[in-house]
Symmetry: C2
Subunit: 310 residues, 2 copies
């Protein structure tokens, strides 16, 4: 029987422009690294080997809550020691909490003989996401578990997640060091949407799915436009419009706010373009005097996975 | 040079449940039959060889307006004599006006050496649709021109229509003989939609596109659910809920209101199921004492087309 596994769990983009609360995409980098050891002692013990001062009480830690949710479905006496090294900066808008929650349940599941399906793992990890954001949502959890391009079609009455293929894509993400709380970025959203605008949005949602499934880069690009959420959040992220403009000028397909921000993502056809796009976006924040990090990497075809066992 | 063509132009479903104003599907039957003759005399002359008392003044006839819109882009002196036999009953909600407009421009284009693209033909035919419904929309025109499954991704700034493959599907349509005016069925629509409901709707839109492109019948079925438009129109169509219930009981995938109604469509995996579904739906209207017509046929992979030339 396995005693210990090391898991890598990826950063993820959610929304992808038009698909608020529905679309997700897994990134090859950055990722969280999670060591999980099976123990005879029941319960979960969390240790953070990073400098972010995240809570280690398992009832308040996203990985802890996720594993406790999984353990509620396990009849035998078992527990886990969990060490987390955050490779994904909390609050950056690329699914930091989702990565820890997803990686934790993937590791625990491996130590239990992989008895749960990916859909069940999403369900467990969503309990962790609830602690981080106050809402039970799967748009980052789904790609963190399944990899690639995901659609959260329904949460109720049953969780229904579509794991769809993505054509080769290179993603450039710029994370400006400004704080945008998920709760604040939810507050600016309209309670209701004019029907005509909703129609334009779901026309783009249809276009984006078709673009991914037919590997039509132009269609992906023009379908990402978000008529509803981005206009509301634009004031929260200085530099967004200019960063996208410069990204498009060097050949990006398109992009927007990653999740609830403040990170900005752009999709690209090649690594070379993605590097140029990262540089172009960074120049905007350098000029604004805002510190920033840049990540460039391909879409991850796999979600959180065990990279070594003992 | 061709002098005359005979065109068949198909009935179409629009909306397909969740995809209000965006999705369309072409049917093999019923269809309009249109004879178009090229004339040296400019302008358009319309003759209806059916009993529906539709206007024959080309400025008020959908086919006439569509051809006049096309002729505005033709430099040479040319005109057309048009004879229309409506196979599609006006007001049934399966794209009657769109079929006449689409067939007319496809025929005129053939007589002009096919100089216009399908996207241009949609644009011309939309002028005809404007006469019929007062709105410039393409959700029936697009499948009537392209065939198969279509997505109207955008009308502005440029018309953007996606013609996507559909898996083999058999459609059962029941047309209860009750009048639902397009204008009335638009009046009952909400001006605005709660954001959460819009999200659920576009999650289904994503699911439906994925279902068509991956030939996943179950996904198509569960994604068609319409949270916004059907609830508002349900009171306009007595028998709808019961008709769907009986259709599902005999194996249908799913369905809903065709366009603005009153026709009800159900998608099915086989002709045998579609026949049973048509019978099951018809039984509801028989019991209600409402006259009805039933159409059963496959999805048409082609749109309006020339079937003979002279």
């Amino acid at each position: 029987m396995l005693n210990s596994v090391l898991v890598h769990s990826p950063a993820t983009l959610s929304n992808l422009g038009c698909g608020f609360d529905v679309f997700g995409l897994a990134l090859a980098a950055p990722y969280d690294t999670i060591r999980i050891r099976r123990t005879a002692e029941p319960g979960v013990r969390i240790q953070h080997l990073d400098g972010y001062n995240l809570p280690t009480d398992p009832a308040h830690n996203v990985a802890g809550v996720a594993i406790l949710s999984l353990l509620a479905e396990v009849p035998e006496q078992v527990g886990f020691d969990v060490e987390i090294i955050k490779g994904i900066k909390p609050g950056s808008g690329v699914g930091s909490s989702a990565a820890s929650a997803a990686g934790a349940v993937v590791g625990a599941n491996a130590l239990l003989g992989n008895r749960f399906t990916k859909m069940q793992l999403v369900d467990f990890a969503m309990a962790g996401e609830m602690v981080a954001s106050g809402a039970r949502h799967a748009d980052n959890i789904a790609p963190a578990i399944f990899g690639g391009f995901t659609v959260v079609r329904a949460l109720e009455p049953a969780l229904d997640i579509l794991a769809l293929p993505a054509p080769p894509l290179w993603v450039a993400v710029v994370h400006p060091q400004i704080e945008v709380k998920t709760s604040d970025s939810r507050k600016v959203l309209p309670a209701a949407v004019p029907l005509g605008l909703a129609v334009r949005q779901w026309a783009n949602v249809a276009g984006l799915v078709a673009g991914f499934l037919t590997a039509d880069y132009d269609l992906i690009g023009r379908s990402m436009e978000d008529y509803i959420v981005e206009p509301a959040r634009l004031p929260l992220i200085p530099g967004l419009a200019e960063a996208r403009k410069r990204a498009m000028a060097v050949g990006s397909i398109g992009g927007g706010i990653s999740g609830s921000g403040p990170s900005i993502f752009m999709l690209n056809k090649s690594e070379a373009i993605a590097q140029a796009v990262g540089t172009a976006m960074g120049s905007v924040f350098a000029e604004l005097g805002i510190e920033f990090n840049t990540y460039v990497g391909p879409v991850a075809t796999e979600g959180a996975k065990v990279v070594s066992e003992a």
